[in-house]
């Protein structure tokens, strides 16, 4: 990963910026159910353990690139990506083949009654950081 960051540094002109954007496994995804005009959070989804390990390696690569003075962080933030599903079965199908999210939903108390009424949504945490080339 640091190799890729070195390449990014090489192809950037002086004053250029790198944008690193990816899922944020430090927080759980939210499972939401349509309730009238709004969606209400009814459960949570964690990240697969092997993926969490990969994400930590990515974090270390960025930290190494800063330590090597290839880049300096300008800042960034977390944002949420909403994936809507017309029916619970569609959400289930999405999770069954997912490489990052665990398939088991941790239902909140509010989510337990009739959890299969639709529509549903998953809000995934993503994050980005803007880095200045040094």
């Amino acid at each position: 990963m640091v190799d890729a960051l070195r390449e990014a540094h090489r192809v950037l002109a002086e004053g250029g910026i790198l944008i690193d954007a990816r899922p944020d496994s430090r927080v759980d995804a939210r499972v939401q159910r349509g309730s009238g005009p709004r969606f209400v959070t009814v459960g949570a989804l964690g990240t697969r353990r092997d993926t969490e390990t990969d994400d930590r390696l990515s974090d270390r690569a960025i930290a190494a690139a800063k330590h090597l003075r290839l880049f300096r962080g300008r800042g960034g933030r977390r944002w949420w990506h909403r994936l809507p599903f017309a029916r619970f079965a569609d959400l289930r199908s999405y999770l069954d083949g997912h490489l990052r999210l665990v398939s088991r939903i941790r239902w909140s108390a509010a989510g337990r009654p009739a959890p299969r009424d639709g529509p549903f949504a998953i809000e995934r945490p993503l994050r980005y950081e803007v880095l200045d080339r040094l």
């Binding site: 890729a4 390449e7 990014a8 090489r10 002109a13 250029g16 899922p23 909403r82 994936l83 809507p84």
Partner: protein, 112 residues
């Protein structure tokens, strides 16, 4: 944002493995000036989702991905959109087939 009407609208716009819409993702990174008139490189561009979105603002965009099939798909999309300021190349992030100092912005979206 939390309405039932959003469901159908967003489903119609998804591609690239249900990633965010390019406009939404790029808009999150900062103001349009971040890309406007810039030379942009999208590393791990896949089917060109983000590269083609960036092309609406940037002076030029290059997308690089190791998957030749994805690059073929991205080129077909670019032709269909008549996007003349975008090029796609097969290549790896660790060994970019591009000259030094050629870009103002490099994007790693879901790459590291």
């Amino acid at each position: 944002m939390s309405s039932r009407t959003e469901v159908g609208r967003l489903l119609a716009g998804f591609g690239s493995g249900m990633r965010p819409l390019a406009e939404r993702e790029l808009g999150t990174y900062g103001p349009a000036s971040l890309l406007r008139g810039k030379r942009v490189l999208d590393v791990g561009c896949g089917d060109g989702r983000l590269a083609l979105g960036a092309a609406r603002l940037a002076a030029s965009v290059v997308g690089v991905d190791p998957d030749a099939d994805a690059i073929a798909g991205a080129r077909a999309k670019a032709r269909a959109m008549r996007a003349r300021n975008v090029r796609f190349r097969v290549g790896a992030a660790q060994d970019l087939p591009l000259p030094s100092g050629a870009f103002d912005v490099v994007i790693f979206s879901w790459v590291l």
